[in-house]
């Protein structure tokens, strides 16, 4: 039977209207699609906030000692005095920019949004394994975020020990002058950690147990593979952070001594625990981006992903090796140098799977028929930028070089090339790609392209020169670089970066407007605007409550583009071809 016929029958079978009241439907919904969209709206707000904090920092760095224009008067005296950002507030900005971006923007955008939205749809399940726990996961993330926001308004200001909260600075308010703020930081992250754990064990159970008939492991889209491995990393890494933060919290509140030296506490213990979580976290922030970019690149190239299996193995490799490299964040920490050598080798080795992925993406584009729709533009620039981020990582991995560039702007450049150039471009790609599925309308391609090009240009103008800053020894987290003679010549570069940063921020507003406007005025998408093979594209946009009226049966892998079996250049996973025999396990190749 033809695809159209199937679609028709399914459309008719979508008769079970859900008559849930508004609040159960959109607020306390257990539908993974609604929860995903809730996460999307929440984390985009925090993304915007994180960006604003960065702008304040960039003003101080670009124009130290100059009063903030216009908004300067809006801040309380404790933060900004006659227009000039105070050092205490600057440290809070550094800390909170990192915290919000990592924990409340990028992580929920990747894991919360697309984990929720895509997993059941792409594996052909009606919903998550535990819908109510899924809802709880979102409704724990919200209070965590609100609490974290509240920290700005408490006595003594918000946490100011960096997003890594190195003890003892973070463990004793005498050192930082921050008491309540740091406590709030801890509690908020404990709650958020619980939320992430609830989410991830839901994902894992769903993927293991609820795949549709024929959706064998090696027919899963790479986005699902990456989200699966990410969920495992979250599940096992987050509790370590929670444990560490609980000890930190006790150090601050009930006077324990875990990380406070006077009575035998070990500051390095905090760093080890934090980075034992922190490095898997780094991969939590990039793996889903890789997975979704793979889906989009295959679609944009109209070609099967090059080396699907090695892509999966690379993901697994990263997921395993990622546990043995945390020490490379601590080369300068006074850690046991012998340990350092080991971590250097493991760190260099983990660059291999990442390289494999890059080469496979390029292999996918090779001899493709590349369609430059907005998601593809973002996905391609994800690859281009991730290459830079990956290569600049090699400098730090070589520990002697790291001696010089550690804690300088070279690191800042590196991490932003991975987190912004990598994750965020992939996030833009994924949002524009699945937006029609989520809201039934396409985002405006014209404004999408404008946003993409402005972002791409200004992004590089902001972060590429930071490599040079770092190479000249410019330390991170400096409130006023001009204090140092050897940094004074770099000031014009800082100014340039700041101006580019403001323009970069401004160009994001285009995305915001496009996102909101297209919700109402965007062109109707139809079930499959990108001619994609995934199961979710066999459903109407947006898909009905409960997803599939009849369980799809999967006959092939998700990347059968330009297959010779059919005349059009895509071949949905669930379309039965009379020619094709009953699906054999491992039948991807």
């Amino acid at each position: 039977m033809t695809e159209m016929a199937t679609r028709g029958t399914i459309a008719e079978q979508h008769t079970h209207r859900d008559d849930r009241p508004f609040i159960r439907r959109y607020i306390f919904s257990t539908d993974h699609k609604i929860i995903g969209i809730q996460f999307l709206l929440m984390s985009l707000l925090f993304l915007l906030l994180g960006g604003m904090l960065a702008m304040l920092m960039r003003w101080q760095l670009g124009f130290p000692g100059r009063p903030l224009p216009i908004i300067g008067s809006l801040f309380p005296e404790a933060m900004v005095q006659n227009g000039i950002v105070l050092p205490e507030f600057y440290d809070s900005l550094v800390t909170m920019h990192g915290t919000f971006m990592v924990f409340f923007a990028i992580m929920p955008l990747l894991v919360g949004v697309f984990g929720n939205y895509l997993i059941p749809l792409k594996i052909g399940a009606p919903d998550m394994a535990f819908p109510r726990i899924n809802m709880a996961s979102f409704w724990l993330a919200v209070p965590a975020g609100v609490l974290m926001l509240a920290g700005f308004f408490v006595e003594g200001g918000h946490a100011a020990a960096g997003w890594t909260s190195y003890a003892p600075l973070s463990a004793n308010s005498e050192y930082s002058g921050v008491s309540t703020g740091q406590i709030i930081w801890c509690i908020s992250l404990i709650v958020l950690g619980l939320s992430s754990i609830l989410g991830s064990f839901n994902y894992i159970t769903t993927i293991i147990n609820m795949r549709a008939p024929g959706m064998i492991w090696f027919r899963m889209p790479l986005s699902i593979w990456s989200l699966f491995i990410t969920a495992i990393l979250v599940l096992l890494a987050m509790p370590v952070l929670s444990g560490a933060i609980i000890m930190l919290l006790f150090d601050q509140t009930i006077g324990t001594h875990f990380f406070l030296p006077p009575k035998g506490g070990q500051p390095l213990l905090w760093q080890h625990l934090f980075w034992f979580f922190g490095h898997p976290e780094v991969y939590i922030l990039i793996l889903p981006a890789m997975g979704m970019a793979s889906d989009i690149i295959a679609n944009g190239s109209r070609k099967p992903i090059f080396g699907y299996v090695s892509m999966v193995l690379a993901l697994l490799g990263i997921g395993v090796l990622g546990w043995g490299v945390w020490g490379h964040h601590m080369f300068m920490s006074g850690m046991n140098p012998t340990l350092g050598t080991g971590f250097m080798i493991s760190t260099l080795l983990i660059s291999v799977p990442s390289a494999i992925k890059v080469f496979n993406w390029m292999g996918t584009m090779w001899r493709g028929n590349i369609q430059f729709h907005v998601p593809m533009l973002h996905a391609v620039s994800f690859v281009a930028m991730f290459v830079i981020g990956g290569l600049s990582g090699v400098f730090m991995a070589a520990s002697p070089v790291d001696i010089y560039i550690h804690d300088t702007y070279f690191i800042v450049a590196h991490l932003h090339y991975v987190l912004f150039g990598g994750s965020l471009f992939a996030i833009f790609a994924s949002i524009t790609y699945w937006y029609p599925k989520m809201f039934g309308r396409l985002m405006s391609p014209r404004w999408g392209k404008v946003h993409f090009w402005l972002t791409f240009v200004f992004y590089n103008l902001v972060f590429f020169p930071m490599h040079q800053l770092g190479l000249h020894g410019h330390m991170r987290r400096l409130y006023d670089p001009t204090q140092y003679e050897f940094l004074k010549p770099l000031q014009p570069l800082n100014t340039f970066i700041s101006i580019s940063a403001f323009l970069l921020f401004a160009s994001q507003l285009i995305f915001a407007v496009n996102f909101i406007a297209s919700w109402f005025t965007g062109a109707k998408a139809g079930p499959n605007p990108w001619h994609d093979n995934g199961l979710e594209w066999t459903l109407p946009s947006p898909p009905p409550h409960g997803n599939f009226a009849v369980t799809p049966t999967v006959y092939r892998g998700p990347y059968e583009y330009s297959s010779p079996l059919v005349e059009e250049d895509w071949l949905p996973q669930d379309r039965r071809l009379d020619r094709s025999p009953a699906p054999a396990p491992g039948g991807h190749r």
């Binding site: 034992f276 546990w323 850690m335």
Partner: protein, 99 residues
């Protein structure tokens, strides 16, 4: 056949592991631990013995009370997966202080 489910019906009735015997074992091991802990032996010996017994007890609970012994291999693997990470973390960090 239903690979996805382990319907309790599938298990033969009235065939349960020797729960009470295991309970007795746990109790005895705890007693022994209490005695060993206060014997005038070399500290290291005591520590090794105690840890060995603790692991033994833990295994009894995991294998029989959590009936891991009767679960499919996939689940067993999943259950022990985090342990290597715990070992990596502790051993690596310990070298900071004793190496």
């Amino acid at each position: 056949m239903e690979p996805l489910t382990d319907t309790p019906l599938a298990k033969p009735r009235a065939h349960h592991p020797p729960y009470i015997a295991i309970f007795a074992g746990l109790a005895v091991l705890t007693m022994t631990e209490l005695i060993v802990a206060f014997l005038p032996w070399h500290k290291r010996t005591i520590v090794i013995l105690l840890i060995a017994m603790a692991i033994w007890k833990a295994l009894l609970v995991a294998l029989y009370y959590m009936h891991l012994r009767f679960e499919p291999n996939r689940l067993r693997i999943l259950a022990v997966a985090p342990l290597p990470l715990a070992v990596i973390l502790v051993t690596a960090v310990i070298t900071e202080f004793r190496w």
